[in-house]
């Protein structure tokens, strides 16, 4: 991910809203919140969470991008790119 790029505030806000339902640790959800280290997500939770993200944004999030997604901001940037590639 390009560290200087900023995701769209709408995408970020939607992700934070979805994440709230998966936030079992009570961690404050910020752009730099990390899925594995801060939220204790394991591969099964990631899968469920991504499925909700896909349905909410009506997009396909390929598994292939996940190794590059560590933080909420990373995912927001990835979602923005998918939306852009889809011409939305």
């Amino acid at each position: 991910m390009n560290p200087s790029a900023e995701p769209s505030p709408e995408t970020l806000a939607t992700l934070v809203k979805i994440l709230a339902g998966f936030n079992k640790t009570g961690t404050e959800l910020k752009p730099e919140t990390r899925f594995t280290e801060d939220l204790n997500f394991d591969s099964l939770v990631v899968m469920e969470f991504i499925a909700v993200v896909e349905d909410d944004f009506e997009i396909s999030v390929p598994m292939n991008i996940l190794p590059d997604v560590a933080t909420v901001k990373d995912l927001a940037l990835a979602v923005d790119k998918i939306l852009k590639d889809d011409g939305r």
Partner: protein, 409 residues
Amino acid sequence: MADLFDRWAPLRAQRDALFGEGINPFNVVMDEVLSQTEAMIGGRCTILVGTNNYLGLTFQPEALKAAHDALDACGTGTTGSRMANGTYYGHKELEAALCDFFAKSHAMVFSTGFLANQGILSTLMGPEDFILMDADCHASIYDGVRGSSAQVIRFKHNDPADLDKRLSRLADKPGNKLIVVEGIYSMLGDKAPMAEFVAVKKKYENVYLLSDEAHSMGVCGRYGRGVPEEAGVEDDVDFIVGTFSKSVGTVGGFCVSNHPSFDTLRLVTRAYIFTASLPPSVVASATVNLKIIKNGGVLRKRIERNSEQLHSGLSALGLKIASDVSPVVAVVAPDPVTALAFWRGLIEAGVYVNLALPPATPFGYCLLRASICAAHTEEQLDRVIAIFAGVATKLGLIDTSAPKVAARA
């Protein structure tokens, strides 16, 4: 500097704390194999209800003889890859036998089932393509798609509507799509709704379907060709991957297909090219057992009967079984500590099942995974059910004040 293995320290600590000093379920040693259904474990004759030997063919006399003959004729190994010096006449005979068995025009034999999935799934689809896989697929499928240049999207387990939704989002994108499912899933024994998946596939253009029939080959369908045969949709399943290490009773993997250019995969599949081929004795026993399986209606009846006996016997005790009747009967335990105590109680009483813990299981289930063999006798399974009852009672998992239910209706 951190040690190389430090990142697994939490897992080790968790397992050490769980297993303590007692027998480790993941380090069981069979000191002597007595038959398809019994072995000596820890000095005790133990009923094996945790193998994948569904048809009980590991000691099939004709296969034993063929293996011995091949060993004498061709030696202990090929010492080479299929592409170089590792293709003997036996490998070609086995591929012909697979074509005959599955009624498909092409077959490719790999050295294990894991390699068949890894090889096919990492190779088949290109950078413009998409793989849509069931979320509960086996590790070999996950490893395969990870090596693919295609985009990989998971859909909810056994959920054709969810697949449909995900395919519809890709409908406008160029590139081929491959749906990947399994006939029967190994952990819970649940079956794919194959006809429904085929119906979804047919709604869209350029969509292929691959099914891993590892646990259903030999078990489902009139001729043992698995869930696609049973569901009557074989022509719409474009690729079938499978293994010789379950019903076929030996080791090895394969993929069969009617695609006219299928043999191209021999030129480009690294797991086929860069590994040694199967030893001739293994190839010979697999070839013989395929014929036995094709005509194995009696064995399939026995599996059905045995599955029914174990499933209904354990259900009647009040234990929670993870799926409907199938050759895999997975009992759900409430937590890892109880699951381990259950497993140890069973092994100490002479019953071996598989212990399966998260993250290797769906829904975070802790499972006592029993699997059926056609060679299990009614008496053996009655004994298994009685031992489950004893251990479950001791652990307080079932209500002992309830009237005693016969093991079998």
